[in-house]
């Protein structure tokens, strides 16, 4: 009797397969790293796929309102794992103080400006990209202004309605728009890897994973994860990470990965949506989908 593959083995194998397809097919490839658990698992899977290497840049959109530990954690791992780390941001909106925390606009408009717009222009290369220089340990202006034509994203189908409609390889048009009614077929592990100039493809290796799978995998692989997800003794922890003005911790005493797995499997979160602490989703029914059509990840 041969040792078979369990659920996590199968999920891992499929994600690795998708990452390798992406690397084979897209010359200008990047991976979005939000510092959260999903995209950190994705980063780990990239190291699995490429045998310890990450042969493409990791892109982070820094809204400047991220919880400070997130930036520290990002740079620590980037240095340790020798990552090609790149960030971009909406400098104009930040300097003009046209943000929700500044009281200038509502939450959804703020997300659109600081995340969607910044992401769109960072990917296109028409806004400055800042790349971590491993020699000095500082960020420098990236000379590479090539648009990224393949963008790997850690979206999961179970997160929220609109994400359940995604493909593994999902084309976006010149304006980063997503035509949800006309998506390419995907069958027998053949994906859309051919694209017209000016368009780009979002690649979703984690589409089949659930929140629980993510934590089970983090536990199994012992992936270093940011401590914001754990209760630090105040009976609160973040279940989903974002900007501090719009992301609220949940009541929980889970202090480590194992306790989170238990909490998700049998405890109080077994039937409560993960993004319940993300305010922008509640702005209108389907807020996230509106954002995603406009390029939000």
């Amino acid at each position: 009797m041969k040792a078979g593959m369990d659920k996590l083995d199968s999920l891992e194998a499929q994600s690795v397969f998708i990452l390798r397809e992406a690397y084979r097919e897209f010359k200008s490839l990047a991976m979005l790293w939000s510092i959260g658990k999903d995209s950190t698992v994705l980063l780990w899977l990239a190291r699995k796929a490429f045998f310890g290497h990450v042969p493409f840049p990791l892109v982070h959109i820094d809204t400047s309102f991220k919880i400070p530990e997130m930036i520290q954690y990002r740079d620590k791992l980037a240095k340790e794992w020798k990552l090609n780390m790149v960030y971009g941001q909406n400098k104009e909106a930040l300097e003009a103080k046209k943000t929700f925390p500044d009281g200038a606009i509502d939450r959804l408009s703020c997300c659109k400006a600081l995340k969607s717009e910044a992401l769109k222009h960072t990917l296109a290369g028409d806004w400055p990209r800042y790349r971590l220089d491993h020699l000095s340990g500082k960020y420098v202006l990236d000379q590479n202004k090539e648009p990224y034509t393949g963008v790997i994203v850690g979206a999961r189908a179970d997160e929220e309605g609109s994400r359940s409609k995604e493909r593994y390889f999902s084309p976006r048009d010149k304006n980063s728009d997503w035509d949800i009614g006309d998506q390419p077929p995907e069958l027998w592990n053949q994906f859309k890897t051919d694209f017209a100039p000016g368009t780009h493809v979002r690649i979703h290796p984690l589409l089949d994973w659930t929140e629980l799978n993510i934590w089970e995998y983090i536990e199994r692989e012992n992936i270093p994860i940011i401590s914001l997800y754990f209760d630090q003794g105040h009976g609160q922890r973040y279940r989903s990470l974002g900007c501090y003005p719009c992301t609220f911790p949940v009541e929980s005493t889970a202090k480590n990965v194992h306790e989170i797995v238990e909490e998700l499997r049998t405890g109080k979160f077994a039937n409560i949506a993960e993004r319940s602490g993300r305010a922008q989703d509640k702005e209108d029914w389907g807020g996230l989908e509106t954002l995603r059509r406009g390029g939000y990840m």
Binding site: F17, G52, P185
Partner: protein, 602 residues
């Protein structure tokens, strides 16, 4: 939410538009207690607020688009559970316009529930979807006759539909045994037998699903490992040359002898590579992994690695296949498409249409000269270079393919058998060309005597940026100064580098090779020594060039790593070799071969 320890099964729900697929899913979610807490109440409250009667289908219609149009656009995924296992449910749209979405959903399913409206009866997509399930290789299928409440739970209606549908399936050689009368809206025969249908004592839906068997693991099948890529991360200080991909079927161990197809190169497994794992001795089907080989052989992404001790896949340029077409443009003759079979990408043309099956009427149409959108056809396809594949009945993973037309996956197909015949597009083309050629009165021999050399095509190949062009130019100059009739064709390198913006790199490269071969035939017919440099030419491309350039000879000069399997290279040079030294080596060879007065140059 699914649990790692529990078994999972992907189920797709298909059927004609408005036959009640979403309602059935809503029911399955609600009645198995699989909805997130408060979701049912939330949707009910929202309906009440909008003065709209609650429907179970609303549970799925999370998207605004769907609600506006009242149809399921895509394959939404949701989860429900029975005592036995967790189900990932894929709702596939019934609208014909969304066939590609239906296929996308169904292609990853292990089981299917096909819904037919008892009141409306069998519709076009009831048939089409029934056919597609079998095409896509789904073994577990339940046919649910829904909305029984609308026909007063009539036994006669149910058996009438069952008979009609079974007759239809028989015509296409498909057999489905599970027929269940249900009323999804009322919850009849979903998670328990219904009192409303006392005449039915078969299994209800959940029971039928639980009776379905998971496919057996593929560890025992012949080993197939489509190569996705070859990695060498030298710049990160890693010298391993790793052959990466996924084991589709079978098992392999360190030390096993392997063979790559279509190149037929052989080696042995030296190690199984993995990140963050202890040393491995075995890889099994389903694993994405990587191997180091004992010998340094040059293989390309797309080749299929098999075990030398087992029956190998076919290598051929023609095969018979069933194809379903989803493209906006029809599948036509005289057009080059891209075929993706396992990890191989090759140019392909439609060679023959055996017959087209109109899936709505199930009538077989002969003499059709194209395959239209939503048609299913039996065809012969011809690839422009050899591909490795299996019959779908033998190994499904290497017996299925998609056809790409203008960036889009436009067709899917299953391979029935290789077709062995002597005709190939290339041969036929050359036959026509030579037949129509009006010969000059000046014979090749006379030209050779005049120019003091045999007309020849000289190809300088190797990786990009290895100094090929410099060598070519220096060689041209030497030959010219010696009084030879020589020309360096400098455009081919650019055309063949794959840098330019063209519809498809695979197809563009094949077309350029073709053009270069044609040009060579004409130019060498004039008595010329034609020099050209082509980046990283593969053995089949070389075969095409040599064939097109015949009867004149073709010489190959390789710069840098020699990736050819046998004695195909006439002169081997080092990367960025000094042009003068390179020219001397080449001239020494030409003196022995094509130059008729070697002493003249010394």
């Amino acid at each position: 939410m699914p649990n790692t320890q529990r078994e999972q099964m992907n189920v797709v729900i298909v059927g004609h538009v408005d036959h009640g697929k979403s309602t059935l899913i809503g029911r399955l979610l609600a009645d198995t207690g699989s909805l997130p807490k408060g979701k049912l109440e939330e949707v009910k409250a929202r309906c009440a607020k909008n003065a709209k009667p609650f429907e179970y289908a609303f549970l799925l219609d999370a998207l605004k688009d769907e609600q506006a149009q009242g149809i399921t656009i895509d394959t939404a995924r949701s989860f429900f559970k029975s005592k036995k296992r967790d189900y990932i449910i894929i709702d596939a749209p019934g609208h014909i316009e969304f066939l590609k979405n239906m296929v996308t959903g169904a292609a990853r399913a292990e089981a299917a529930i096909l819904v037919i409206d008892a009141h409306e009866g069998i519709k076009e997509n009831s048939k089409r979807h029934g056919y597609m399930m079998s095409f896509l290789g789904i073994k577990n299928i339940a046919v649910c006759v829904n909305k029984m409440d609308l026909v007063n739970y009539s036994e006669k209606v149910f058996y009438g539909i069952k008979k009609e549908y079974t007759d239809f399936l028989e015509e296409i050689n498909v057999q489905y045994t599970n027929f269940i009368p249900i009323a999804a809206r009322e919850g009849d025969n979903i998670v328990a037998l219904s009192k409303n249908i006392p005449w039915y004592n078969g299994a209800y839906i959940l029971e039928t699903l639980d009776n379905f068997k998971k496919a057996a693991p593929k560890h025992e099948q012949d080993f197939r490992f489509p190569v996705q890529d070859i990695y060498k991360f030298t710049e990160s200080g890693d010298d391993r040359r790793i052959v990466a991909g996924r084991v589709e079927t079978g098992t392999i161990r360190v030390g096993d002898e392997v063979i790559f197809l279509p190149s037929r190169k052989k080696s042995k497994i030296k190690s199984i590579e993995a990140f963050n794992a202890s040393a491995l001795v075995e890889a099994i089907s389903g694993q994405s992994t990587g191997f180091c080989l004992e010998t340094q052989i040059y293989i390309r992404p797309g080749e299929i690695m098999g075990k030398a001790s087992q029956p190998s896949a076919h290598i051929n340029t023609k095969f018979k296949a069933n194809i379903f077409w989803m493209g906006r443009q029809p599948l036509v003759f005289q057009k080059t498409y891209k075929l993706k079979v396992a990890s191989q990408h090759v140019p392909v043309v439609l060679s023959k249409i055996v017959h087209v099956l109109d899936a709505s009427e199930l009538s077989s149409v002969q003499n059709k000269n194209q395959v239209d959108r939503h048609d299913v056809a039996e065809c012969v396809l011809e690839t422009l270079k050899p591909v490795a594949f299996d019959e779908v009945t033998k190994i499904a993973e290497t017996g299925r393919f998609v056809v790409v037309d203008n960036y889009e996956i436009s067709g899917g197909g299953i391979i029935l058998a290789p077709v062995y015949d002597q005709d190939s597009t290339l041969k036929e083309h050359i036959r026509q060309r030579e037949f129509q050629w009006t010969r000059s009165e000046i014979t090749p021999e006379k030209r050779a005597e005049q120019y003091k050399h045999n007309a020849t095509l000289i190809i300088i190949t190797g990786q990009m940026d290895t100094g090929k062009e410099k060598i070519a130019k220096a060689l041209e100059e030497q030959l010219f100064n010696d009084g030879r009739f020589v020309y360096f064709l400098g455009i081919s390198n650019k055309l063949l580098s794959g840098e330019e913006v063209v519809a498809d790199k695979t197809i563009a490269r094949a077309e350029h090779i073709q053009q270069l071969g044609e040009m060579s035939r004409i130019l060498t017919d004039s008595g010329l020594i034609l020099l050209t440099s082509v980046s990283d030419i593969d053995e089949h491309e070389l075969f095409v060039l040599k064939t097109l350039n015949r009867p004149n000879p073709t010489l190959v000069i390789n710069v840098g790593e020699n990736k050819f399997s046998d004695n195909q290279v006439d002169v081997s040079l080092m990367e960025n070799e000094d042009p003068a030294a390179a020219v001397a080596k080449i001239m020494a060879f030409l003196n022995k071969t094509i130059l008729l007065d070697p002493e003249y140059t010394i």
